[in-house]
């Protein structure tokens, strides 16, 4: 089966690390007093993107847009409904992550890791830092305990927890939030993954500590050639850590582009609204008014039209009568899914 894929995509850029095609995740909505019909929630609804080696792709959107679901699909914490996730698509034998099972799935977990948002809840309070960081090595049966000790020490040093010996046998509650997030990074990187999903890794950290963690992730990516999917709700943070940004809305990617380009000249009306809503730390700066109303709804059985139709200031009858627009090049390699942009 893997051979077929290689035939289908023979000429891919060898720099591409991860390629996602038509990824979907549907959930059955839970029935309750108010929703009798148990419709399908289109949490992730056919998205495509690529991440290159040592590139950081930001996945930005409001809560409920499907960004966290996408992250969990990529590390296979949940199973996709449809679509392909190809690791190393340029190689002779790329792996389709979407359908892995059993032993190959376990082996794949070395290649792709995840960093969670909450540094307080993402570590077992009863296990030492050593146990936490060494866990992937242990379950993957990579070397003995003494080797683990060496590698964990080295890793702790790499993430700036020095000297490692003072951290190895502490418990999570003895560390500060910033230190814990560094431990989480160490745990994700200890198996030398090629790709890391970072789900809001700095959103719970204080400003003064945040920059340090952001910079560390950037540095390690460059040094170890890791590709990131950086999930965040904060465009300002994305600006500093991401090479490219993909904006998600109700399960669809509505715009992708180079970070500065996208932030300076957003094409999609949703991106424009999102950007104009971000508060600016300058009291003399007056933001333009946000032109859209309402909040994000839950995409239960969405009609076959632009997902943004009901809130869009540009929408007209054409948008209503046609299916959700495809991502199209709007210049400078910037893709947007909009008929009007």
């Amino acid at each position: 089966m893997t051979l077929d894929i290689a035939k289908l995509v023979p000429s891919l850029d060898s720099r591409i690390l991860l390629k996602v095609e038509g990824l979907r995740k549907y959930y059955r909505a839970t029935a309750n007093r108010f929703r009798r019909n148990r419709g399908l929630i289109h949490a992730v609804d056919g998205i495509d993107f690529e991440v290159a080696k040592d590139e950081s792709l930001g996945l930005v959107g409001e809560s409920g847009c499907g960004k966290t679901t996408t992250g969990k699909l990529l590390v296979r914490l949940i199973d996709p409904t449809a679509g392909r996730i190809l690791l190393n698509p340029g190689q002779q034998q790329p792996t389709d992550i979407a359908t892995l099972k059993g032993k190959p799935l376990k082996a794949f977990r070395r290649k792709v890791q995840i960093i969670f948002q909450d540094p307080y809840e993402s570590m077992n309070p009863r296990r030492t830092i050593f146990d936490t960081v060494a866990e992937p090595l242990k379950v993957q049966k990579m070397g003995g305990t003494l080797e683990h000790l060496d590698r964990v020490s080295h890793m702790l040093e790499l993430v700036g927890l020095t000297p490692p010996s003072t951290f190895l046998f502490r418990y999570p509650h003895e560390l500060s939030g910033g230190q814990r997030q560094r431990v989480a990074i160490a745990r994700a990187l200890i198996v030398e993954p090629a790709f890391v999903v970072a789900d809001e890794p700095t959103s719970m950290l204080d400003v003064s500590i945040r920059t340090g963690v952001m910079r560390l992730m950037e540095e390690l990516a460059a040094r170890l050639g890791i590709g990131y999917l950086y999930i965040t709700h904060d465009l300002a943070v994305a600006r500093y850590v991401c090479d490219r940004i993909a904006v998600m809305y109700l399960g669809k990617i509505v715009e992708v582009g180079e970070t500065e380009e996208l932030l300076q000249r957003p094409k999609h009306p949703y991106t424009q609204a999102l950007l104009s809503a971000v508060p600016v730390p300058d009291p003399t700066f007056t933001r333009p008014p946000v032109r859209i109303k309402g909040g994000v709804s839950v995409p239960v059985d969405p009609p076959d039209q632009c997902r943004f139709y009901s809130r869009c200031p540009l929408a007209d009858d054409f948008c209503r009568d046609n299916p959700h627009p495809p991502l199209e090049d709007k210049g400078a390699g910037q893709l947007a899914a909009c008929y009007k942009a």
């Binding site: 108010f34 409001e62 809560s63 500060s176 939030g177 910033g178 204080d206 400003v207 003064s208 500590i209 945040r210 920059t211 340090g212 952001m214 910079r215 709700h233 904060d234 465009l235 300002a236 943070v237 600006r239 500093y240 500065e260 932030l263 609204a273 999102l274 950007l275 104009s276 809503a277 971000v278 508060p279 600016v280 730390p281 300058d282 009291p283 003399t284 700066f285 933001r287 008014p289 946000v290 859209i292 909040g295 994000v296």
Partner: protein, 321 residues
């Protein structure tokens, strides 16, 4: 502006006593707010900003003591007031929008009922009058009056936050304290709420205290900013002054560490070390162990207030100028 300030806080000091000793959560804090003014308190977690809010409302747990200082609400010191007297002040004169207020609505009662209940407890108004009032409040915060008879789970996050604001406005207080009012909300909803709060404030000529860790939110909503670090206000002044020419090194590093989507992309600053343990804060200036400009005097003597116009900072080595 010569009239009496709505709120004047003088040398307020509040400690929590725990087994290991006294946590000096609020330490010698002084500020005041004029009618119609918005004060922003910005600081990182554990800087004491929420503790100030709880102290101003006298909603403190049993292990907290106000050791020193005055809280003058329209000239009356509320620190020595009995709990009974204090209850008259709360909601009527000073009310609050809590952090995570969205979840503070009782799920088994209709939202309108909860606001009416709060009204009746404080105003002794007739029921029809209260209902009419809630209707007007919903109008003010841009909520459909049809929602009055709905339950909290039928509201979205932003709608719930609006209902909470309506409740805080119910008794037409002189001062509202908003503790992280939009932290759990998405940016677009946050934008709507912040804009509304500002216009309501201007309309009713109310005073506000905004408390947030988000420098950008504070920059947008407040007229005056206080920067908090380890239980103290380290810098206080007009928002433009503080943001454009910060005096305290801590303020400067906060500004430089805070990313923005607009303007030139600049190198983000970072701070070494961790905020101090308030059980045993450092001698002298509490920021000195992390301060790049620290000198010997910083580590053993309380820093003096450096004034520049209406803007001051507590620092031995003031920056700028």
């Amino acid at each position: 502006m010569s009239e009496r300030p709505v709120l004047a806080v003088e040398d307020l000091t509040m400690h929590y006593s725990i087994k290991a000793g006294a946590v000096r959560a609020v330490d010698g804090v002084t500020f005041s707010i004029e009618r119609g003014q918005a004060l922003g308190l910005v600081g990182e977690s554990g800087s004491g900003k929420s503790s100030i809010a709880m102290t101003l409302l006298r909603l403190l747990p049993d292990n907290a003591q106000i050791l020193r200082g005055k809280i003058l609400l329209d000239g009356v010191d509320i620190v020595p007031l009995s709990e009974e007297r204090m209850r008259e002040y709360r909601w009527n004169r000073i009310s609050m929008i809590f952090q995570a207020a969205m979840n503070s609505l009782n799920p088994v009662y209709k939202v309108g009922e909860q606001i009416i209940e709060a009204l009746e407890a404080h105003l002794e108004s007739a029921r029809e009058e209260s209902i009419e009032r809630v209707r007007r409040l919903y109008d003010v915060v841009n909520l459909d009056p049809g929602l009055i008879v709905r339950y909290p789970h039928e509201y979205s996050g932003g709608m719930r936050q609006r209902a909470i604001i309506a409740m805080a406005l119910a008794c037409e207080p002189d001062l509202i304290i908003a503790d992280e009012p939009t932290t759990a909300l998405d940016v677009i909803v946050q934008d709507h709420i912040l804009r509304e709060m500002r216009s309501i404030q201007a309309e009713l000529d109310m005073s506000m205290i905004y408390i947030s860790h988000d420098m950008a939110v504070i920059a947008e909503v407040s007229d005056v900013v206080g920067v908090m670090y380890a239980g103290k206000i380290v810098e206080l002044g007009g928002t433009a002054d503080v943001f454009h020419s910060p005096i305290h090194p801590y303020t400067r590093s906060l500004m430089s560490a805070f990313p923005s989507v607009t303007g030139k992309k600049r190198e983000l600053g970072t701070l070494t070390g961790e905020p101090p343990n308030l059980l045993d804060p450092p001698e002298g200036c509490r920021f000195h162990p992390r301060c790049p400009y620290a000198t010997d005097v910083c580590s053993n003597q309380e820093p003096p207030k450096v004034r520049r116009g209406n803007h001051w900072a507590a620092c031995w080595n003031p920056q700028g100028e």
